[in-house]
């Protein structure tokens, strides 16, 4: 069956079951390292794997949780928290990580173009 997914702008990176619940994986998308997370409520998020605070490519290895209603990942290096939905650093208003569109299609995770945030 066909889906609305435009294969030309979306990259298939892995099966959904390769990402642990509340875990992350790193994928190579257009030559860049992208961290993809899966949350307990079934959502999947993608953001750059690069932690601007520690200047290392590590975010996929962070702990995933919630702050209030905000799903977030804590950098494994120095624990800064990033909103999975927007990439906004919750501990520093001036820091934000780029995020990407992501969809799950037939159990396959597809990463799309960078998202615009207001």
């Amino acid at each position: 069956m066909t889906t609305s997914t435009d294969r030309s702008t979306y990259t298939a990176v892995c099966r959904l079951d390769q990402i642990e619940v509340e875990g992350g994986v790193t994928a190579l998308v257009d030559g860049a390292a992208v961290a993809i997370f899966r949350t307990h409520d079934g959502n999947v998020y993608a953001m750059s794997n690069y932690d601007p605070c520690s200047r290392a490519s590590v975010l996929a290895r962070g702990i995933v949780g919630t702050r209030g209603d905000v799903p977030f990942v804590a950098s494994p290096m120095h624990k800064q928290a990033f909103d999975l939905r927007t990439g906004q650093c919750l501990d520093d208003a001036d820091v934000r990580v780029p995020t990407f569109d992501v969809r799950v299609d037939d159990g396959i995770v597809l990463v799309g173009p960078p998202q615009e945030h207001p």
Partner: protein, 839 residues
């Protein structure tokens, strides 16, 4: 106005209740119109019989309610050492044993009760005693001085108290109980069994289902043993009867007053007997036909009688028979409908046989109200539970939280102001708060003391509500401390984060609570830290069984127990470092660290190391790191013991042990202390006689020197103490609290640790040892278990969709002939040319 005629009240008996009667009479103005004469048979004024056993430690003076020997109020006359022989209701006179006759308008009998001595042959031999007065205790002490074995007949509350006294006097002690369990009136079978285990672990012998048929007489005419029905004779040179009490109602009987069927002066709700001018209060009285063997109801009767004499409406309509006491260090409490006799009542039981804790709640059929309960081994919840029964407030949603070990229930349950907190003195929560607000105190806690904890909590809460508040919750997801979480997980047997957060938390956790729960699960389950959903709980170091470095690579530290290593193994480390191009450094912990491994290289590095006989050194975990060692007696000319062997043994024993913070040890072969053992969480220093054990040291930002816990230990004792110490720390310390601040945080500090670890005062020793034995038995190497498990290995890739492409962010420069990480300045892109097949 004409001068008023002053009436006279005669009180017979100056015990706890007689004294309270006089106090109330003075406080409430009864002595404005009445003179009081108190006649007491004992040679001294009233004293605190409830804590009689402490007489041996603190002496008679400290127990006295009236150390001055008289009341301040001159209208009260105290006649001591004098027995009332009888009274005549017709002439309203009492006859004292010296022949004096005293006229009364009102006569108050407060003669208490006497221990019941079953009429078995030999019950009156020299060496046989009861346990009621200071004189009894003096006599027992004297007899114990020349004896080695004692026995108490009766395993009830008072019998166990007496047994404790015999034990304190240095006697080998037996407790003989007719019923199938101890404290049969207060606790159920399971509770009695838990209590018996505690008591036996203190070295007492408990004989239940045992009927005494005679006290055996020795050649010198003194007691030498107890003959039991259908069991062997027990040796006993000191025999204490504690088989119940009987109200002292002989005076009333002789005067022809009505008595209750089972003894006691029958009185109405105000304390009046069948003669309107004769009253009875305390243990000699039977209001409504029932006598009460506790002090709180007696106090209530005393207050009511004074009120009645003043024309007030007070009435005594029965009493709360709840009890809480500490027997030989064991908490025992029983309250409300402890035996679930209410129709439809439900029981909720928490029992930990190893910990020696048994707790039962009795709950109404619809689950909304607490009816009663039994607590053995840990009665900290009593202060909040008993008033819940009395005030009938609704149970919380998770009633089991009320009996979880950490006593968090006490923090959460809002008692209504009218809830009675101190039953001995009828003080409510509102009274305590009002007093605190006025800077005053109440009588709460001054009698049996069982409400002290709750009283303190209410006062603290009051002050907290006025200002500063301390929140010890670990994070927004759990309103619990680490210790409380540890207990909650243990009680419910949770095995995953999901279970814990669903039952006790909110949200989906965070980087603070997840590693804490991972560590607690690891301590309790001893499973692999990467098992199931536990992987995602771990900090990155634990998640990858290696230490992350500034550029996202990892370091690898194989265990080198005691710092001892063969040349062959050294060569393997060198080869691995060379083949993978790793930066190599000798650490401050006497081992070798290999830095700069890419994540995808870790399994292969471990494989090489494991094949050569290495295992994980847990440099990444909140776990045992190293047990540092000096070279010791094998080589060193000063060494007095083999410090290397001991360090290796300890490191292998405690390897993999997950703890609130990292743990380090050290062993030095003599007092020169080359291993810096006193800078470690546990340090051992050799002596000529054995080993000195030091605890609570660390380096780091706030250095602390370890302090001596015990000296000159043999190996076996040393390891036993260490097992207990480490497990006690793991169970009770806060998150990221090392042993030094943990010890400081304990009530009693190092002395407390010594009580638990060396003296085994809580009787926890064997449980802590068993927990450590479980750890030792289930240890396995995490590295090996990971490389043997394809599923766990799946994650060790640079990119999920391009496992062969190394992470371009990682690059090195050369420094002093080895690699060093190069800092990246921003995200690196490889360009868009990497082909990716469908996964």
């Amino acid at each position: 106005m004409s001068p008023q005629y002053r009436k006279k009240i005669v009180v017979v008996g100056h015990g706890m209740v007689g004294h309270r009667f006089v106090q109330a009479a003075v406080e409430r103005g009864l002595t404005e119109t009445h003179d009081i004469v108190v006649v007491g048979e004992e040679p001294r004024p009233a004293y605190d019989r409830v804590v009689l056993t402490s007489f041996f430690e603190v002496g008679a003076e400290a127990l006295s309610f009236l150390p001055e020997g008289e009341y301040d109020d001159p209208r009260v006359r105290l006649v001591l050492g004098t027995e009332v022989e009888g009274f005549d209701p017709e002439t309203r006179t009492v006859l004292l044993d010296g022949g004096e006759v005293v006229q009364y308008d009102e006569l108050v009998l407060a003669t208490g009760a006497a221990p019941f001595v079953p009429p078995v042959p030999g019950h009156d031999l020299p060496g046989c005693f009861v346990y009621r007065t200071i004189e009894d205790l003096e006599a027992i002490r004297e007899a114990a001085a020349g004896a080695s074995v004692g026995a108490v007949i009766g395993g009830g509350l008072l019998g166990l108290e007496a047994a404790n006294a015999l034990r304190q006097l240095g006697l080998e002690t037996h407790v003989v109980e007719m019923a199938p369990r101890l404290m049969a009136v207060q606790v159920d079978d399971a509770g009695g069994a838990t209590l018996a285990r505690h008591i036996e672990s203190l070295g007492l012998s408990v004989h239940t289902n045992a009927m005494t048929s005679a006290v055996v007489e020795g050649a010198d005419g003194r007691a030498v043993g107890l003959a039991l029905k259908e069991a062997a004779t027990i040796p006993a040179e000191v025999v204490v009867f504690s088989a119940g009490i009987r109200p002292r109602d002989a005076l009333a009987r002789a005067a022809g007053l009505d008595l209750a069927e089972r003894g006691g002066v029958l009185v109405d709700e105000q304390g009046r007997s069948s003669d309107p001018h004769v009253w009875a209060i305390g243990e000699c009285a039977a209001p409504g036909g029932r006598m009460y063997g506790l002090v709180a109801p007696g106090y209530a009767m005393a207050e009511v009688a004074v009120d009645a004499m003043l024309g007030g409406p007070g009435a005594f309509t029965g009493a709360d028979m709840s009890t809480k006491l500490k027997l030989m260090g064991v908490d025992v409490a029983s309250f409300g409908d402890a035996f679930a006799t209410t129709p439809g009542a439900l029981e909720l039981v928490y029992s930990d046989a190893v910990a020696g804790v048994y707790k039962k709640l009795v709950i109404s059929e619809d689950g909304t109200r607490l009816l009663g309960g039994v607590l053995v081994g840990d009665a900290s919840a009593y202060g909040v539970l008993r008033p819940m029964v009395a005030s009938g407030i609704a149970l919380p949603d998770n009633p089991e939280d009320l009996i979880l070990p950490a006593g968090r229930g006490a923090a959460d349950i809002g008692l209504p102001d009218e809830a009675q907190v101190c039953s001995c003195n009828d003080v409510s929560k509102g009274d305590i708060v009002a007093a605190a607000a006025a800077g005053e105190t109440t009588r709460a806690g001054s009698t049996c003391g069982s409400c002290k904890v709750q009283t303190k909590k209410i006062i603290e809460d009051y002050y907290a509500s006025q200002g500063q508040e301390v929140d010890r919750s670990i994070c927004e997801h759990f309103p619990l401390t680490r210790q409380e979480l540890f207990d909650v997980v243990a009680v419910h047997g949770h095995r995953s984060f999901d279970q814990v957060v669903e039952a006790h938390g909110t949200g989906r956790g965070c980087d603070v609570c997840k590693p804490v729960i991972a560590s607690i699960l690891a301590s309790q389950l001893n499973g692999h830290v990467l098992e199931g959903d536990r992987r995602t709980l771990q900090d990155t170091n634990d998640a990858y069984l290696a230490n992350i470095q500034r550029n996202g690579t990892y370091s690898v530290v194989p265990r080198i127990p005691g710092g001892e290593i063969t040349p062959d193994k050294l060569i393997v480390i060198g080869e691995v470092a060379r083949d993978f191009g790793l930066y190599t450094k000798i650490t401050g912990g006497q081992r070798i660290d290999l830095f700069g491994a890419r994540m995808e290289q870790l399994p292969e590095i471990w494989r090489r190391l494991v094949d050569a006989g290495f295992e994980s050194g847990h440099a990444y975990g909140k776990a045992l790191r190293t047990v540092k060692s000096c070279v010791g007696s094998t080589w060193c000319r000063y060494g007095v013991q083999d410090s290397v062997q001991l360090a290796i043994d300890l490191e292998l024993r405690y390897r993999g042990l997950r703890s609130p913070h990292k743990l380090k040890g050290g062993v030095s072969g003599c007092a020169r202390e080359c291993a810096e053992a006193r800078a470690k969480d546990f340090g051992v220093i050799a002596t000529e006689q054995g080993w000195n054990l030091y605890v609570g040291g660390n380096g780091g930002a706030t250095p602390a020197h370890a302090r001596l816990l015990a000296g000159d230990l043999d190996r076996e004792t040393l390891i036993r103490y260490l097992d207990r110490y480490l497990m006690y720390y793991i169970r009770t310390a806060d998150r990221l609290q090392r042993t030094a601040p943990w010890i400081d945080s304990l009530d009693g500090g190092l002395d407390r640790v010594r009580e638990v670890v060396v003296d085994d005062a809580l009787g926890l020793g064997s449980e802590l040892e068993a927990a450590m034995a479980r750890h030792v038995d289930t240890y396995f190497d995490e590295w090996k278990a990971t490389i043997d498990d394809p599923e766990k290995l799946e994650r060790f890739v640079s990119f999920v969709n391009a496992p062969d492409v190394p992470d371009p962010h990682i690059s090195f420069r050369d420094e002093r002939g080895q690699i060093a990480p190069e800092d990246s300045s921003g995200p690196v892109s490889l360009g868009t040319t990497i082909p990716v097949g469908a996964p």
